[in-house]
Amino acid sequence: MGHRTPLFDTHLAASARMVDFGGWDMPVNYGSQIEEHHAVRRDAGMFDVSHMLIVDVRGARARDYLRRLLANDVAKLAEPGKALYSCMLNERGGVMDDLITYFLREDWFRVVVNAGVREKDVAWLQRHSAQFQVDIQPRPELAMIAVQGPNARAKAAGSIGPRSAAALQLKPFYGAELDGWFISRTGYTGEDGWEIALPAAEAPKLWSSLRDAGVVQCGLGARDTLRLEAGMNLYGADMDENVSPLESALAWTVAFDPRERDFIGRAALEAQRRAGVKRKLVGLVLQERGVLRGHQKVIVAGVGEGEITSGTFSPTLERSIGFARVPADAGEYVEVDIRGKLLRAKPVKPPFVRNGKALVAL
């Protein structure tokens, strides 16, 4: 039996098919993951993301602390509520996690970390906290529901009480504490929407109210096809402690300027840059019938080999897409070994889909 979110019984009652995800019993779908995917692209869907962990960082030097711990620079967060996507690295420049950080007050930042590595992340955050006299406060008593889609905020507004006026004012990538709930205009699907963090006991009622408002229940299956179409990395698949952000299409999240900011892993990344980064993460569109899957071998003629890190069938594009880590010199076409056959795939720059339409030449 894995960990259970406050919505576990709700999912069972809705006949969700449950799976283990990083030690958590989570819904993979409630019927058809393809229908759930389309609901998010076209209308509104919701996900139980309570398995992720919110961690508050408190103290006068919270900003300095996070400028040391994170590869991206929280100095960019000037307005209260603003969020930043960043990797957290180890000293070798390997990715420990990718996460979102909110600036709430000078002495209060909020971090949201992935479920599978939450204990590791908290231990790491605590290990470095004394140096900056910050207090690390995990908030496991908070549940979280992500409502996503072009109609998500409009449909959800009626379920969040008087908070809706302020919530509807939120700009993309901003969050706010509203009467005991934390609502942010963020997500992992490429669509507009909110992520709503609230006390666990209130989550089933919110879920039920959102259902009544016509928001479709969506599981982890749809979550994966949506994030991959949107070009978003998945920790544990597309990157882990053995690769750097520079090999994971995440160089854009590393703030090397200002040069005086020494963050953990900086020296290792600079050495990697000087030597020349040998591998890159690319998007792939499979050119033939089949499905790209993690760990399939990628062959780059005349150059070398690589590996699929994430793969799926894109419901919007109606063909298979994925990410692959390949030699830096990989060019226009690659081949993928799928069950013994070599199928052609085209490297593309993600995202694959925006505003519900294909962005890449198929």
Binding site: R17, V28, N29, S32, Q33, I34, G221, T225, R289, G290, V291, T312, F313, R339
Partner: protein, 131 residues
């Protein structure tokens, strides 16, 4: 609870077989199988004219989750494949015993069907697997 029509025969690997009045055997995958696989995105069916042995891998059903071989319940010659599945693989999910049929075989020996699981035995096999 998955659906198990009483007039069909089954393999433990979740294929079903139906002896038709014209002597052909229609083959598909069970309701349990389609539910476990999830939404199908591709189906590969055998070419008409191909000869199959009982238990030979004859078709492939592929979902986002996994690709799965489909084994022929009988020996014989493939006489038809369900062309509708090229554009609509989801028929296997929505109607696994009807519109979602995979292929038809002219059996060398219809008595081979007697050795397969009947609906009750297949149901028991599912239960013992924990389904």
């Amino acid at each position: 609870m998955s659906s198990i029509p009483s007039n069909l025969k089954f393999l433990e690997s979740h294929e079903w077989a139906r002896l038709e009045s014209d002597g052909l055997v229609t083959v598909g995958v069970s309701d349990h199988a389609q539910s476990a696989l999830g939404d199908l995105v591709f189906v590969e069916t055998p070419e008409p004219g191909r000869r199959l042995s009982q238990g030979e891998a004859a078709a492939v059903v592929e979902s986002v989750k996994a690709a799965s071989d489909v084994y022929s319940p009988v020996s014989g010659e493939v006489v038809a494949a369900n062309d509708a599945l090229g554009a609509a693989p989801e028929l296997v999910n929505s109607d696994p015993y009807g519109e979602g049929w995979l292929f038809k075989v002219k059996p060398d020996n219809p008595a081979e069907l007697d050795g397969l699981l009947d609906a009750v035995a297949y149901g028991k096999a599912l239960e013992s697997e924990g389904h």
